[in-house]
């Protein structure tokens, strides 16, 4: 709450700096009549002062918000009695959690002793000091930088060029965020995966046939073997994606062909947006549909003809995922089919081919690379899809090709390993990041190949 107040105050200071800068520029040349003696328009002097007053402080405030929590925590830990400070890291983490909860006035897991209460008070004290300090520092810097900029204003100052330089810097910084995101993803999953591969050899992970991530807490514990072989997960992911593609490719492709080459404009104008709706439905809705409507229906149908169907069958998840990616296949195919030049079709008709012969023997071969690209994109979508499989597929890692059985996928395991309480040094949690790394690498590879194919194909006809 106080942070938003600070931001409001800062915006006020910036507005003030704008006004003052503008006035000063006019004053130095003797009012409105002297504007032509100024290098830039008066507003640029205002912007110049406002940017100087606002930007450095915004950066500092943002850094503060990001690091405040960890700095205060480490200060609190240092002030703890020695006996508490020397606890093993995981116990210490729990303790710090309790102290934080205590400071926030939430429920604490264990008993509150004096030292904890003192630490919590200390934390609250640090927080309020931090808030006051932040406000003071921010306002001082804003005023200092703003007044320095204000003093520099004069008729010969190239305010426009300077403002434009700053704005260009901001634009570049914004476009670098895309790169930073990728770097952040790679670093965060790589770092944790690296820790994981120190505990579990990478070959065991990639080629192991058994997945049961429960690590034994005691040596004699039953049913906690802690096997981290990812092959069953990949088999499950591929099985479900394959079912999805078997649903989506024929329906998506045929409807794209029908809508682009056969349908009248009326049908097209209604059917296309309705099909696109399927792409806009949140995946959690598909998951709900799969788990509560389709899976019981499939199970019932299977039992009525004497098959044993798991209630979390791969078939249900795959079918629904197929419905979800129909619009991807159809809209991408639609693009490439429309990109095939009309002259090719006309030539085929002139030789006496029927429409379907033209499509099958001329248009589709010409559009094939683009369609393949679209299918690869849809496949990468299916592999990375999470909510449908979390809600409709199973948890047990069976290595099977039977679509009526329950299988689990990479994304399901990431979610189950990471939702809930985590300790960041157990192989179980780290395994999720290793799976994330694999998922990222696989989908990235598929995307790069697909985009390359699509782009190359487009150039052919342009």
């Amino acid at each position: 709450m106080q942070l938003s107040l600070l931001i409001l105050v800062l915006l006020g200071v910036m507005a003030l700096a704008f006004q003052l800068g503008r006035r000063r520029s006019l004053a130095t040349v003797g009012g409105r009549s002297g504007t032509r003696n100024l290098h830039s328009l008066p507003a640029y002097y205002g912007f110049y002062a406002a940017l100087w007053a606002g930007l450095p402080t915004l950066v500092i405030a943002a850094l503060w918000v990001f690091f405040e929590g960890s700095i205060i925590t480490s200060m609190v830990v240092e002030s703890l009695p020695a006996g508490m400070r020397e606890l093993p890291p995981d116990r210490l983490g729990l303790l710090v959690n309790d102290i934080t909860n205590l400071a926030n006035g939430n429920i604490v897991s264990g008993d509150v002793d004096q030292a904890m209460q003192r630490a919590a008070d200390h934390m609250n004290e640090l927080r309020s000091i931090g808030k006051i300090a932040l406000a003071g520092v921010v306002l001082c810097i804003a005023l200092a930088a703003g007044s320095l900029a204000w003093r520099a204003i004069g008729p010969r100052m190239r305010a426009r060029n300077r403002v434009e330089l700053i704005v260009t810097g901001l634009l570049i910084a914004s476009s670098l965020i895309a790169i930073l995101t990728t770097v952040g993803i790679v670093l965060s999953v790589l770092f944790e995966s690296f820790l994981f591969f120190q505990k579990i050899p990478i070959t065991d992970f990639l080629f192991g046939l058994e997945w049961s991530p429960q690590v034994a807490l005691r040596a004699d514990q039953v049913g906690a073997s802690g096997a981290f072989g990812a092959v069953p997960l990949f088999a499950g992911t591929l099985l479900i994606s394959l079912i999805a593609l078997l649903v989506a490719i024929p329906i998506g492709l045929m409807s794209a062909i029908y809508l682009s080459d056969y349908a009248g404009p009326r049908l097209r104008s209604y059917a296309k947006p309705v099909l696109e709706v399927l792409a806009g439905v949140p995946t959690v809705v598909y998951g709900f549909f799969a788990a509560l409507t389709l899976a019981p229906a499939i199970r019932g149908a299977g039992e009525s003809i004497g098959l044993t169907v798991s209630s979390e069958s791969a078939l249900a998840a795959g079918l629904v995922m197929g419905i979800m990616i129909i619009p991807f296949v159809s809209s991408l195919s639609d693009d490439v089919i429309n990109a095939v030049p009309q002259s090719l079709r006309d030539a085929s008709y002139a030789l006496g081919a029927t429409r379907s012969e033209t499509i099958r023997q001329v248009v589709l071969p010409a559009a094939l690379p683009g369609i393949m690209g679209g299918i690869l994109l849809a496949a990468s979508r299916a592999i990375g899809e999470t909510m449908i499989v979390v809600m409709a597929a199973g948890l047990s890692a069976n290595l099977t090709a039977n679509p009526l059985d329950s299988v689990t996928t990479v994304t399901v395991q990431i979610v189950t390993l990471l939702v809930g309480d985590q300790e960041f040094d157990s192989a179980k949690t780290l395994a999720a990041f290793a799976l994330g790394l694999l998922l990222f690498v696989v989908t990235l590879g598929l995307n790069i190949v697909a985009l390359h194919i699509v782009r190359k194909y487009r150039e052919q006809y342009e």
Binding site: M1, G69, I172, V284, F288, R355, L377, T386, M391, I414
Partner: protein
């Protein structure tokens, strides 16, 4: 000569003979295509039909009209009207009394308890709130519609099969008898379910609402919008208008295209490792959710904004440059206003994506069971799709109804946003 005429005749014959087969195949192909389109439309229909048919009944809630006596002996024995004492009073007793009067034949302890369970455990709070709002009620008698338990709700709405064997249903014959008696006396009514839109989450289906989730979604999307729109537009302007063509800008472009196709759950891993573990931001907070969704929607917004900038014809830029504007002035005074509708459309579509996103938010802990409606972007909260996910796991039949209703609300928001985007595109789209 004779031979060549014969071959020509034969070629035509071959063509004629094959025509029927070829036309049949043409027809088949055509029907196949039509079938695919119809199947696709059917999926949309089944999906929406299933959800709506399951969920529409959650917008009304069964109430039981009972004449409650606000007994001063129970609420406020010493007549001091002290709010703290009133809050501790046994309102359960008040709600139970009329039931006991109505069914004097129920005497056994277990039977009595079953009878009281006809009312929701939220009914006493309902009475407490009424008294807190109007202390003059104390000592009066008033007919009040109290919330019924979820099992009774399901029974009244017809979701429980009365003829199923008793062990297969959640209400036994005695309870059905009571409910029938109440219905005969006209005391059971279905009212619009306002609690569903204002309450936070609850373990009791009849008390659970989407108010908290909607507020959480609002704060999350607010953070996302405030960050992703300016950053996305700025990045698009730089890449489209200023960036030199070199290896660096190529790298950025490839990057953005690939980020658009990275699975959303990977963004969740990034959020968990970076924002929560490294920077120590609070778990379950809309602020972190908004940051993650910002990174996720940025590629969409950048790509749409670049397309919008590209569609502004070069003549506009040349005219501005020609009268002496700097490049920056050209962009900000002339190109940007012309491309704003396209950028806004892209942003709305990106926001719609963000609104429906679930997986990355699971990673950063927005799946907690949160009863309070969040009051700011730092309070722990959940969002609408995550609420759907949480409820979908609950076994009660009443939660199926609530989940479907929450989905209907979610879809209504999404359809409204997308329609708005389409209308805006139609309205402002300019062909140069």
């Amino acid at each position: 000569m004779n031979g060549s005429e014969q071959t020509r005749a034969r070629a035509i014959d071959i063509v004629n003979a094959s025509l029927k087969r070829r036309y049949a195949r043409e027809r088949r192909f055509r029907y196949l295509g039509l079938g695919a389109v119809i199947l696709g439309l059917l999926f949309v229909g089944v999906l929406f039909g299933d959800i709506i048919s399951k969920g529409y009944s959650a917008f009304v809630q069964t109430h039981i009209e009972l004449e409650v006596y606000f007994d001063p002996e129970v609420i406020d024995p010493d007549g001091a009207r002290d709010p703290a004492l009133i809050a501790q009073a046994d309102f359960r007793k008040l709600a139970r009394e009329p039931l006991r009067e109505m069914f004097p034949e129920v005497t056994g302890r277990r039977d009595k308890r079953a009878l009281y369970r006809v009312l929701s455990s939220g009914a006493p709070y309902q009475l407490l709130k009424m008294v807190q709002a109007d202390p003059d009620l104390i000592g009066t008698r008033k007919s009040i519609a109290l919330i019924a338990d979820d099992d009774i709700d399901m029974l009244v709405k017809g979701h429980i099969d009365r003829h199923a064997p008793p062990q297969d249903r959640r209400v036994n014959d005695t309870v059905i008898g009571w409910v029938d008696t109440l219905e005969e006396r006209g005391l059971v009514s279905k009212k619009f379910n306002t609690g569903f839109f204002t309450n936070g989450d609850s373990r009791e289906p009849e008390l659970a609402g989407i108010g908290g989730a909607v507020a959480g979604s609002f704060y999350t999307l607010l953070v996302t919008l405030l960050l992703s729109f300016p950053i996305g537009v700025a990045a698009a302007i730089y890449l489209e208008e200023f960036a030199p063509k070199n290896r660096w800008t190529d790298l950025i472009e490839v990057n953005i295209n690939n980020l658009a196709a990275v699975p959303s759950i990977v963004f969740g891993l990034l959020g968990l490792a970076m924002f929560i573990n490294l920077f120590g931001l609070p778990r379950s907070a809309p602020l972190v959710g908004g940051l993650v969704l910002t990174l996720m929607t940025l590629p969409t917004i950048i790509i749409a904004s670049r397309a919008a900038l590209k569609s502004v014809p070069p003549s506009i830029r040349e005219a501005a440059l020609g009268v002496g504007a700097s490049r920056m002035q050209t962009v900000f005074h002339h190109v940007l206003p012309q491309s704003m509708p396209g950028m806004l459309t892209g942003t709305i579509i990106g926001m719609a994506q963000a609104l429906g996103e679930t997986a990355p938010l699971l990673m950063i802990g927005m799946v907690a069971f949160i009863v309070d409606v969040p009051g700011g972007p730092l309070d722990p909260s959940t969002v609408l799709p995550v609420q759907v996910y949480l409820w979908a796991d609950s076994p009660e039949r009443a939660f199926v109804e609530r989940t479907s209703a929450a989905i209907i609300v979610l879809l209504a928001f999404l359809i409204a946003m997308n329609t708005f985007a389409v209308v805006m595109r139609r309205r402002f789209e300019r062909r140069w």
